[in-house]
């Protein structure tokens, strides 16, 4: 795919050399997250260097899309968007903390569970949907409810 084709696939998005691989991955239904070749740490959103060790040897590397809900809210209003329903409890919006590294998170929505029933700590996995008029992105679905035990995922950062 040429750069022009990539840009055409994401109209209105500021795609550049630092984040192109992430967006190319979305078109292939792959989550390509930047990983450092020298210290193995992951980071997101994509930067031109590793925030942990300053290496510029970075490889966009596929993550499984498995993790847990670290943050959750429900949007009850907003601009109309394909695939988004703000009514009836709201549109679920979560930050998913990926299994690959503590604190490494992706934002997205959750499919198949009412927003009001989503809990911090719920186990999720990525899924891909074709929604006409929407830019390519991953969504999530719950695979196991939170056990409710204690506080989840605190104290460990993405790059330290």
């Amino acid at each position: 795919m040429t750069d022009e084709e990539l840009l055409d696939a994401f109209p209105g998005v500021r795609i550049d050399a630092d984040n192109a691989a992430w967006h190319r991955g979305l078109l292939e239904r792959r989550l390509l997250v930047n990983r450092c070749d020298d210290c193995s740490r992951w980071h997101h959103p994509p930067r031109p260097l590793c925030p942990a060790c300053w290496s510029r040897s970075i490889t966009p590397t596929e993550v499984a899309g498995d993790g847990f809900v670290a943050l959750v809210t429900a949007l009850r209003q907003g601009a109309p968007q394909p695939g988004v329903d703000y009514g009836d409890g709201g549109h679920a919006l979560v930050a998913v903390e990926l299994d690959e590294q503590p604190g490494l998170r992706l934002a997205g929505t959750v499919v198949g569970t009412p927003a009001g029933e989503i809990q911090v700590g719920d186990r999720v996995r990525a899924l891909w949907r074709d929604i006409p008029g929407r830019l390519p992105r991953a969504d999530f679905e719950i695979v196991a409810a939170s056990t409710g035990a204690g506080r989840v995922g605190r104290g460990e950062g993405a790059t330290r």
């Binding site: 670290a70 009850r76 919006l93 998170r105 934002a107 605190r154 330290r160």
Partner: protein, 400 residues
């Protein structure tokens, strides 16, 4: 005593306050009309004229525009840091204390854009207010490309972290409600506040949910309005008509987790950087504070600030507010004497990203707060901003 270098301590003062009144339904205004009104009022309040200003530092309206509009003949230093108000204040303090400028005009405005309120959406001219303006986050190059309803850019992240706060520390929405009710109660004594009717907990809990767990009562009120401040050396301030408000210490605070959803947790946020630095630069302590201004553009932020400035431990803010709640007054009075956001804050006076909090702190220290004046207010702590890239602390004192 301070443990960190602070050569500007008490050497720079706020000598003029100006405002373009906050309003929810103002027609025919522009960012320029709001800012220029506030600036003219502030310069007049300071007993100065345009030729006395040699530095300009504002947020979105450019310094060049303000200089030309006000006919300020010569400016030796200017800057336009992004909001919120601590960015302008710390820059101005640096300019004055270093000698880059002697007297700096500081300003910030709020202007309702079409998506912020129904009445703003009906104003056809507002639809062109952002014509030619780049998407801010994209322009800053922070890597945030994702601004739709499936992203945690901006306001939705505050709701998500509010939910995480309630989850982690075992609170309910009633805890957030105390912050909203406190602001509304205090606003009743502020003729410049846009919402002054009392708010009950029952009404709060019935409020229209916008982004769970935050309802309309938990989010700052969109308004048109502006604030301006004139800042100069304390030495010069003492020759001017108003009681000087000395800037004792001021700081910004960021962490390296610059994206909302990547913030490590609420115990490793910009607020911690602010508080560590602010107290280290100060000869004052929390026990000296008479009036407190924790930003509450989203109600949960104020709970975090109350914890982090040192009134209680992390996660104990909700319990602390309940313990210091005066039922008969329907507001917080810390230790029975320290009001919190005495003007009504962003939740009831109107949302100006902390500029209104700073304005009120200065009024209190000057003794100009009218029916809400706190007797003998000598030290004010203002903490604008939230968690990520805008946490700030400003410690002010009267010139006694």
């Amino acid at each position: 005593m301070s443990t960190r270098r602070n050569p500007a301590m008490d050497q720079v003062a706020i000598v003029g306050l100006g405002r373009s009144p906050y309003a929810r339904d103002r027609q025919g205004c522009t960012p320029g009309s709001l800012v220029s009104e506030a600036c003219v009022n502030a310069i007049r309040d300071a007993g100065l004229g345009p030729a006395d200003i040699d530095g300009i530092c504002g947020s979105m309206v450019s310094a060049q525009w303000v200089q030309a509009a006000l006919g300020i003949p010569g400016v030796a230093w200017f800057a336009n840091p992004q909001a919120v108000i601590g960015n302008q204040i710390t820059s101005a303090v640096a300019a004055v204390s270093s000698g880059m400028a002697d007297t700096v005009l500081v300003y910030h405005h709020a202007y309702r854009l079409p998506w912020a309120s129904r009445s703003a959406a009906k104003d056809p001219m507002r639809k062109r207010a952002t014509l030619g303006v780049a998407d801010a986050r994209s322009w800053w190059g922070t890597g945030h490309n994702d601004t739709g309803p499936n992203s945690l850019y901006g306001a939705p992240a505050y709701a998500a972290w509010a939910g995480r706060y309630l989850h982690d520390y075992g609170y309910t929405r009633e805890t957030l409600g105390l912050i909203a009710i406190n602001s509304r109660t205090n606003a009743a004594r502020n003729p410049n506040a846009v919402y002054t009717e009392p708010l009950t907990m029952e009404a709060y809990l019935d409020g229209r949910m916008v982004r769970d767990p935050l309802s309309v009562y938990d989010m700052d009120i969109p308004i048109d309005g502006a604030d301006a401040f004139v800042i100069t050396t304390t030495e010069r301030a003492r020759d001017l008509p108003r009681p000087p408000v000395l800037i004792h210490a001021a700081t910004l605070g960021h962490t390296d987790y610059g994206s909302e959803e990547q913030l490590r947790d609420l115990e490793h946020a910009g607020q911690m950087v602010v508080v560590d630095r602010l107290w280290a630069k100060s000869d004052l302590t929390l026990a000296d504070v008479d009036v407190l201004y924790p930003y509450e553009g989203f109600s949960n932020i104020a709970l975090s600030w109350i914890e982090n400035v040192g009134y209680c431990g992390r996660g104990e803010g909700g319990a602390f507010v309940a313990d210091h709640w005066v039922e008969a007054e329907q507001r917080i009075m810390i230790h029975g004497r320290i009001p919190v956001n005495s003007h009504g804050g962003s939740l009831s006076e109107g949302g100006t990203q902390g500029a209104g909090h700073l304005h009120e702190a200065c009024l209190q220290l000057r003794g100009d707060a009218g029916p809400r004046q706190v007797d003998g207010a000598a030290v004010a702590l203002v903490t604008p901003g939230g968690y990520y890239f805008n946490s700030q602390g400003i410690l002010l004192r009267g010139d006694s």
